[in-house]
């Protein structure tokens, strides 16, 4: 079972904070990999408003190809952080040429485009790079989006973090999602590594989605180019959230109604029953199954945690105003915020969505039994 932790803080923090929490929870991951998602960035990234940031791993040749490609389509480098590593990698960590985090200036001709179109084009560029990289095995691209950085690598989280020197001061963020992998795939593929990302939405999961195949079939048949990959069954959690927000205009409080709808008998007496029944029926193909704890981040910097219908996985949220953390294990939360009021910790149950907003004042619990605001 993987280990998850997420932080949302008023002050920018180093990702090492999250790595330390993963290290505390190390009993639960086998050191087969680590994934980081950083948003609401601090330091030099803060001034790059709107500039998309490309995160990935490149070979020297891949980097040259990247430069040629980006130049051709009119992207100019605005700021970059290139992580060069020592000559020898620690045991269990593969040797790479370059870990790249680079912010770009948008091409001039994009200036007049509507926001939606820019977003879709950014996704298109990421997918194109990903495909180029897969052809020659010289690039792995995780995200290409404003105010988002992703780092993923195989190996023990702490070892990887020290090797990449993630404690550097240029790397700070107010939102950090981190996952320590317990590998359940035979071959370790970085594209199977959480968190998953699409258009500003990132989620990571601790579990196994047994309804993966039919959900994948549904998403891939939507005709949206970003719904690809699926090296991991958990990637669909990110895409479902994206689908319901972008295509259905439904906000986070409907996420649970889509992935784990209430039973019909309950809907009969639910104040929103009629509407929820429509969601349940038409989104039936997106219903998840199996034990899953999902932690995610939305473009508006809300962090959330939801559980599967039976609440088969652990998960706790706690903190103090200005700093909240989500963790798959209590010990992880203790490591992150030892001085919080533990009596206010929340373990979201099978109907709950725990949300911490960008104001970081409180943990808001919304239940599927609540009367949600009308959608339209």
């Amino acid at each position: 079972m993987c280990r998850l932790c997420a932080l949302t803080s008023s002050e920018p923090l180093s990702p090492m904070k999250a790595i330390e929490a993963l290290d505390v929870m190390r009993e639960g991951h086998d050191g087969s990999g680590v994934g980081l998602f950083l948003s609401d960035l601090g330091g030099p990234w803060e001034e790059l408003e709107g500039a998309p940031i490309l995160s990935g791993i490149f070979t020297n040749d891949g980097l040259k190809r990247l430069d040629r490609f980006m130049m051709e389509i009119g992207f100019m480098t605005k700021y970059k952080l290139t992580i060069k590593t020592p000559k020898t990698a620690p045991p269990g960590v593969p040797k790479r040429d370059v870990y790249l985090i680079r912010a770009y200036e948008l091409p001039e001709e994009w200036d007049s485009l509507p926001q939606q179109e820019i977003q879709n084009r950014l996704t298109g560029v990421r997918l194109q790079l990903r495909q180029m990289g897969q052809e020659k095995e010289d690039m792995i691209v995780f995200s290409f989006w404003p105010d988002c950085i992703m780092i993923k690598e195989i190996g023990d989280p702490m070892t990887v973090a020290e090797y990449l020197r993630l404690d550097r001061k240029e790397l700070q963020a107010r939102i950090i999602l981190a996952q320590g992998r317990q590998n359940t795939n035979y071959a370790i593929n970085l594209y199977a590594c959480h968190p998953f990302f699409i258009q500003g939405i990132a989620t990571m999961t601790n579990g196994e989605n047994t309804a993966f195949v039919p959900i994948r079939e549904f998403l891939t048949s939507r005709g949206f180019p970003g719904y690809v990959g699926y090296q991991s069954d958990s990637e669909v959690f990110t895409h479902i959230l994206h689908y319901m927000r972008h295509f259905l205009g439904l906000d986070l409080e409907y996420y649970k109604h889509v992935i784990t709808p209430l039973q019909d008998e309950v809907l009969e007496t639910h104040p929103n029953g009629a509407f929820l029944k429509h969601i349940k029926r038409s989104c039936r193909r997106l219903i998840i199954d199996g034990p899953n704890c999902v932690i995610g981040c939305l473009p508006d910097k809300r962090l959330f945690m939801v559980q599967d219908r039976k609440k088969l996985r652990p998960g706790v949220v706690g903190g103090k105003p200005g700093l909240y953390a989500f963790s798959s294990e209590m010990c992880g939360l203790d490591a992150l915020i030892p001085d919080r009021d533990k009596s206010k910790d929340v373990q979201p149950m099978h109907l709950d969505t725990a949300i911490v907003g960008p104001d970081r004042r409180e943990v808001r619990l919304c239940s599927q039994m609540d009367t949600s605001a009308p959608v339209h």
Binding site: T210, P214, G249, E265
Partner: protein
Amino acid sequence: MLSDGYISPSSLSLRDLPWRVHWSLEKCTLCGRCTTVCPVHAIELGVFRKRVVETAFGITQEPSNVYKVFYGIRQKTDPAYACIGCGMCSMVCPNDAILAYRSEEADKLRFHINRGGQPRRRGGRRNVPGGILDRIKFIRISMLTDPALDAGRHEFELRTLLGRVLPPEENLRLLKENGWIPPVREIYPLIIGGMSFGALSPTMWEGLQMGVAYLNEELGMPVRMCTGEGGCPPRLLRSRFLKYVILQIASGYFGWDEIIHAIPEMKEDPCAIEIKYGQGAKPGDGGLLMWYKVNKLIAAIRGVPPGVSLPSPPTHQTKYSIEEAVAKMIQSMSMAWGFRVPVYPKISGTSTALAVLNNLTRNPYAAGLAIDGEDGGTGAAYNVSMDHMGHPIASNIRDSYLTLVKLGKQNEIPLFAGGGIGKNGNLAANAAALIMLGASGVQCGKYIMQATAGCLGSESDRCNVCNIGVCPKGITSQDPRLYRRLDPEKVAERLVDVFLAFDTELKKIVAPLGRSTSLPIGMSDALGIDDAAAAERLHIAYVV
């Protein structure tokens, strides 16, 4: 006959018959129950002559013999009276003196049951044991990473949707605009397939309806039953129980005059309307209710004169093209109930199923597609249709589902699979396999008849006389002397048993796969088969 006597080409001996009746002289009490009960008069009272040699003691008297007469059971060898193996004789025998045995070699009867140029007609099934469904295994067992669920303790949502499900965007848009959203029923995924009032006896029908009502109202299981083509009893049409019924309309339109006239008086809408274009057991052939079974009651419900055979044409008379027939009929039926009732076609399994399906995807009123495979059963059909016509259900359903996936419309047009589900007794396993291949639910008839009323049919040509109204169990007979044998209350009880057991078995299948929140439609990663060609054809894993 005498050894030098006359034989006709169709003179058969006991050895040539498929079923032979063994009878024991020592045990028989000559009560006559067996000859009375035999539905085809295959046995009769036999008077046998026997020579007994009597040797006296001593040498003065010559040995002599006497001819004696004894009585017993004689099996007829005339093809018209050949034993059907139903075994009712042994059921009624007080001393277990009689039993019908299957002949060990292929019978010669098959060459002679076409007297008068009339090919063999019968009820029943294809009579081919085995099948691909039983060979499909569920291989994705949840271990460690996702602990298996507890079939007895956890909550399971095992329902399915019947009706056109709109794409989420479309559904929410129409909801906002107050537009028409097609009706959708949330039902139990095992539907009692279309068996008509007429094909089934009144007691059998009543029993099934009572069982369905109990399952719905007392146990909260939304089980639905299809009427088949034969109308619906007027009282049921006007009762609240109609909502548990799927009304079928087929090419003979039998019973529809009554149904249409009852619409203004209906308290509830029916669950759905099934338009039958084909039947798996006799694909491309119409329905048939032979005259034996058309008594006054049946005639009244169907709106026909009694005592005549009722063949439905192979095709709907309105059929000019698929667009015409399907679109017009679906629309008229939808309109009859104010677009509140799902209307879907049922076709027999065929290599052209995808053409039908593609057409339906463009018809916004089409509420689903039921496909009935070659292993479906029937109350009456030509033997050749049953044995040789049709398409197996597994690949038909799989192809249809994958086509829908390609179109992005999987589960929007729910597919219902029929034909051979549970034919070897593995109802839940077969149903689950089809659901994971892509069916939204399954339709089942034969298993229900066997399990709820003790139908004697097997996959070895046993009984199979549903067509001529002599069903020894009273399941498919319209003769009160026969159908009184069947207690409708007991049928209802058995139906409830069947569904409860099915429900538990289905949970025992999906729980170890880690599924409980929704019916695992299209979960093909859970399936495997030990046949590489079948695995490739069905796009599932090959496991040995």
